[in-house]
């Protein structure tokens, strides 16, 4: 089951994400070379990017239920038929709304939502449904705006998929047949949810700074299925280097002769609010031949004889189509031929041209219909901690049992000497090293449900990045003997992203010198705290606020108040801070040096590893730059779908 299954409820509106940006630059982590200009707005590493005073807040704004589809596939848009239509989607009551944070400056491509509550309310503030979104990172980062990202500054969008946990239904929910049907169908009191975000504003324009558009959908969830991605089939863009229709989930229900596809995260839009100015006729079809096309610039034409046409994508219904349907389209009553072919042939999205015999290939299903994804694909691991990651494999929507999945650590990426960085501030250190930082089995086997598990253990590492805690590791997974599919969208789409924290023993009696480095770094990176609340670099300021700090540093990690909001502090460092707050001893640096405490915030004269990064790693670097708005001149895509 997934958010695409029935019963399904879709909503749209805005999201606010007040992420902080000083921490987007690795060089800013070096206390020894930190300058106050890094806390000021402005591009480039000598400034703090577009939102240095961000507070990491994430929340739903102006979101309303647009439509709902019941179990027999009928879509409802009239509140008279189900009172859920038009109701408000909002965040928590009586507590703050949630946080959005990166895993690490070296892995900013899986930004996670933490502590986000999801509620549906009536116009009279009565609860219909409430649940907590299980923390999840975004995936399928893909280009959305064809206009080059003006005026907002970020032309890309991405998707968060998760489950709502601890779901509660308000009394009023009993009056919504759709909600009652959803309640009856779901298992373990969890509901599947998908959020497609786009049109995010880096720019102070349109009154929408730090706002984006969001298209959301909730549907049933079943046990023994993934929580953080939909067990769906996947369609990948291959036209214009895959810059349009990059990645879309779809499900095919052979029993009910039905196909449901989510184009909400992939449909090319003209502007930041979801207007579509494309006029071409798009069709979904089944390809009679297996396709392996990579994303390319050259047009690929398919003869109509090679296609079984399913139907036209009905998007030409006015400018609000995307925001009112969330881009989800159902094709019911598929023909017997289509039903038969879709069971083991690829779906394609094609554009019609002037000739009725040829179609332009826009997107194709994954090669061989294979989808292999890690579920809990973002991990924070402490020394000697063991985590289990679940992986699932499907072919044409069916679980792939007894299939081997191989896991490999990516090779180390090079260190960059200070003078090679632009501007030169500090050495930046590479990732995935030491390679023995993590222990894991190199392969695993799927079970009858297509699920495999790997255990990953964090080993002791000692500041391989000198002034940034721990290390970032990417573990790549792939089905053994399966051709890699270069059309899969997103940066590092087939990787598990891990932040392994430094081995940091808790001192018997911690003094300020034991924590001053981490607290100073905190003060540097989060000016919103040092400017408006407390200067973490000042032990006396910490002591003056110790009660509230102890409160924040002892919250559950899922609590939106948890400190640090970035959730990047190892357990032992967190406990050391707490231990110090209980007995705050402020020593001087000379005493600290005598005790052998060495501050790490200096450029070490380490031997640097400058081997060239792999193509995949270089892509990740470029994608990070794009996400951060460094590539402000995203060229507009013109003359799309002409052939």
């Amino acid at each position: 089951m997934s958010y695409l299954h029935f019963p399904r409820i879709v909503f749209s509106g805005d999201f606010s994400s007040d992420v902080s940006t000083v921490n987007n630059d690795t060089q800013h982590y070096n206390n020894a070379t930190f300058e106050s200009s890094f806390q000021l707005p402005g591009q480039g590493a000598t400034n703090g990017w577009w939102n240095p005073e961000g507070g990491a807040t994430f929340g739903f704004q102006n979101c309303t239920i647009q439509q709902a589809t019941n179990e027999n596939g009928t879509t409802i848009t009239d509140p008279a038929l189900d009172g859920i239509i038009g109701q408000l989607v909002t965040g928590a009551e009586g507590r703050n709304s949630g946080k959005m944070v990166d895993l690490d400056p070296d892995q900013q491509m899986v930004s996670e939502l933490w502590g986000v509550t999801f509620r549906i309310l009536s116009a009279h503030n009565e609860l219909l449904l409430e649940g907590r979104i299980k923390p999840t990172g975004f995936r399928d980062l893909q280009r959305r705006q064809t206009n080059g990202g003006q005026p907002n500054g970020q032309p890309m969008g991405a998707s968060w998929t998760s489950v709502l946990e601890d779901v509660k239904y308000g009394k009023l929910a009993e009056k919504s047949p759709i909600l009652m049907a959803l309640k009856a169908k779901t298992q373990q009191n969890k509901i599947s949810i998908n959020l497609n975000g786009f049109g995010y504003y880096y720019a102070h324009a349109d009154g929408r700074f730090s706002l984006g558009k969001i298209l959301g959908c909730i549907g049933p969830w079943f046990e023994n299925e993934p929580e953080l991605f939909a067990p769906a089939r996947r369609l990948y863009g291959v036209y214009q280097r895959g810059q349009v229709f990059g990645g879309s989930n779809f499900i095919f229900d052979a029993d009910n002769a039905r196909l449901s596809i989510d184009l909400g995260g992939s449909f090319p839009i003209a502007d930041s609010i979801g207007t579509i100015n494309t006029t071409n006729d798009f069709y979904l079809a089944v390809s009679k031949q297996p396709l392996t096309n990579p994303p390319a610039i050259r047009n690929v034409l398919i003869d109509s004889s090679e296609l079984e046409i399913i139907g036209k994508v009905p998007y030409q219904q006015g400018s609000t189509w995307l925001n009112s349907t969330c881009g989800i389209v159902d094709f019911n009553m598929l023909s017997a031929d289509v039903v038969n072919d879709l069971k083991n042939s690829q779906l394609v999205l094609v554009a019609a041209g002037s000739s009725s015999t040829q179609y332009l290939l826009i997107a194709r299903e994954a090669i061989d219909g294979i989808v292999c994804r890690a579920d809990n694909f973002v991990q924070r691991i402490d020394t000697n901690q063991k985590v289990t990651v679940n992986l699932y494999a499907y072919q044409y929507g069916q679980p792939l049992p007894q299939t081997e999945i191989t896991i490999t650590m990516e090779p180390p990426t090079p260190d960059t000497p200070k003078d090679k960085n632009s501007p030169p501030i500090s050495i930046t250190y590479g990732n995935n090293k030491p390679q023995d930082g993590l222990s894991f089995a190199p392969s695993c086997q799927t079970n009858a449900q297509g699920m495999a598990q790997i255990e990953i253990t964090g080993n002791s590492i000692h500041s391989p990045r000198v002034y940034i805690d721990g290390q970032i590791y990417l573990l790549d997974y792939t089905l053994a003997n399966q051709q890699p599919d270069s059309a899969i969208p997103g940066a590092a789409p087939m990787s598990i992203s891990i932040h392994l924290r430094d081995d940091f023993p808790i001192p018997e009696t911690p003094t300020w010198s034991d924590i001053s480095d981490m607290m100073t770094q905190f003060a540097n990176l989060y000016p919103i705290m040092s400017k408006y609340f407390i200067n973490f670099a000042d032990p006396q300021a910490m002591i003056a606020k110790k009660d509230i700090l102890k409160f924040a540093f002892t919250r559950d990690i899922h609590d939106p108040i948890y400190m640090p909001a970035t959730r990047d502090l190892s357990e032992t460092k967190r406990l050391t801070i707490l231990k110090w707050l209980d007995n705050p001893i402020v020593d001087d640096p000379a005493t600290a040096a005598a005790r052998g405490i060495k501050l790490k915030s200096v450029d070490a004269n380490a031997e640097l590893d400058t081997a060239a990064p792999s193509e995949q790693q270089q892509k990740l670097v470029e994608a990070t730059k794009a996400k951060n708005g460094s590539l402000i001149n995203f060229p507009a895509l013109t003359n799309l779908f002409e052939f």
Partner: protein, 349 residues
């Protein structure tokens, strides 16, 4: 001298049952809350990292107002009532008179910090019935012919003593306590004695006593703390002074250029629809209203929710400080003040 309409004191004095005190205790909660937005606004109108001495004083007072609001809600729960916090009419429409006709003609607004506001608003709000006159300060002659906030609380105290059973009838599980307050000051109100003692905390922290500027916690009462700010000197023990104290302590420095030029009594509707400024103020008001919803839950059977609201208080503060730095569109030389307007979640629709 801050007056209260005598009808409220009479209403307390004439009460024949605890239930008749419910609206009076609700008034007390509203009164304590009504001082918080003005004090917080002054507190957050300073430029970042300036005026730490003044900040400390206002901060200590506003925290105690939060304590008083909590105590008043605990007492209402203890006598069997239900605090109502998340209602539009709970929030004053600043600039306004305080609840219960308090202060007569005194108008309390949402303004930046100034010595004028300290003297003419904050000291007025906190003024005891008979302020002790310390050296260098000559107060206007006072007439004790009307009722004060202190009178109101003392009347409540007397009426609870008269009407309530020793064990108060409210559900003890509704009592709110917090690790942020000493258990001497904030404790579950279970008995008549607890209620009487708790009212002393409110009155003495606010006014001090007739003979000392100190409250039960040995801290200066609010009135005298504000007076310190106004005089720019700490009030310290002074054996040579007639009342044992004088404003001869360390200087409390204040530089008016450290105050951001908040537009007085900003309202959301003054800002252009669809502007970034409007959105930030709307978001401030949503957070504020959400905080009131959270406190309503807290005081209505979910005391553990208090911890959840702390994140909202933090967000509110950050938004307020960001607004205070943001130029007010169309009002040259001003920045945006917080407006503390109640919004229902669904007004977003």
């Amino acid at each position: 001298m801050l007056k209260i309409s005598p009808k409220f004191v009479s209403a307390v004095q004439n009460a024949k049952s605890l239930a008749e005190l419910f609206p009076m205790l609700q008034n007390a909660i509203e009164l304590e809350h009504s001082t918080i937005p003005p004090y917080l606004t002054a507190l957050f109108s300073f430029k970042a990292n300036t005026e730490s001495d003044t900040r400390k004083v206002i901060h200590s007072i506003v925290i105690e107002e939060m304590l008083h609001m909590t105590i008043a809600a605990n007492i209402l729960n203890a006598v069997g009532g239900c605090p109502a916090i998340s209602r539009p009419d709970f929030v004053p429409n600043y600039p306004t008179h305080l609840p219960m006709g308090i202060g007569g003609s005194l108008i309390v607004g949402i303004e930046k910090y100034s010595l004028d506001v300290v003297q003419n608003v904050f000291m007025e709000i906190e003024e005891p019935e008979n302020p002790i006159e310390f050296k260098t300060m000559a107060l206007a002659a006072t007439e004790a012919t009307y009722k004060t906030i202190g009178d109101f609380y003392r009347a409540l105290q007397a009426k609870i003593a008269e009407l309530a059973p020793d064990e108060l009838p409210g559900n003890p599980a509704k009592q709110v306590t917090s690790s942020f307050f000493s258990s001497d000051l904030l404790y579950p109100i279970l008995t008549k004695t607890d209620a009487i003692n708790a009212i002393n905390v409110i009155v003495e922290q606010g006014e001090g006593s007739e003979v000392s500027p100190l409250g039960t916690d040995d801290e200066l009462a609010h009135y005298y703390k504000f007076e310190e700010l106004y005089k720019g000197r700490e009030l310290v023990r002074d054996p040579n002074a007639p009342n044992g104290y004088s404003f001869t302590g360390p200087v409390i420095p204040f530089d008016p250029s450290n105050v951001l030029p908040l537009y007085p009594n900003t309202k959301a509707e003054m800002l252009p629809e669809g502007s970034e400024e409007r959105r930030l103020l709307d978001s401030f008001n949503q957070t504020y209203s959400n905080l009131l919803f959270g406190l309503h839950q807290t005081f209505n059977g979910h005391p553990d929710n208090l911890n959840n609201t702390i994140g909202l208080m933090f967000d509110l503060r950050l938004a307020c400080q960001k607004l205070a730095e943001m130029p007010f569109p169309g009002q040259d030389g001003y920045t945006i003040g917080p407006s503390y307007e109640f919004v229902q979640p669904t007004t977003q629709l």
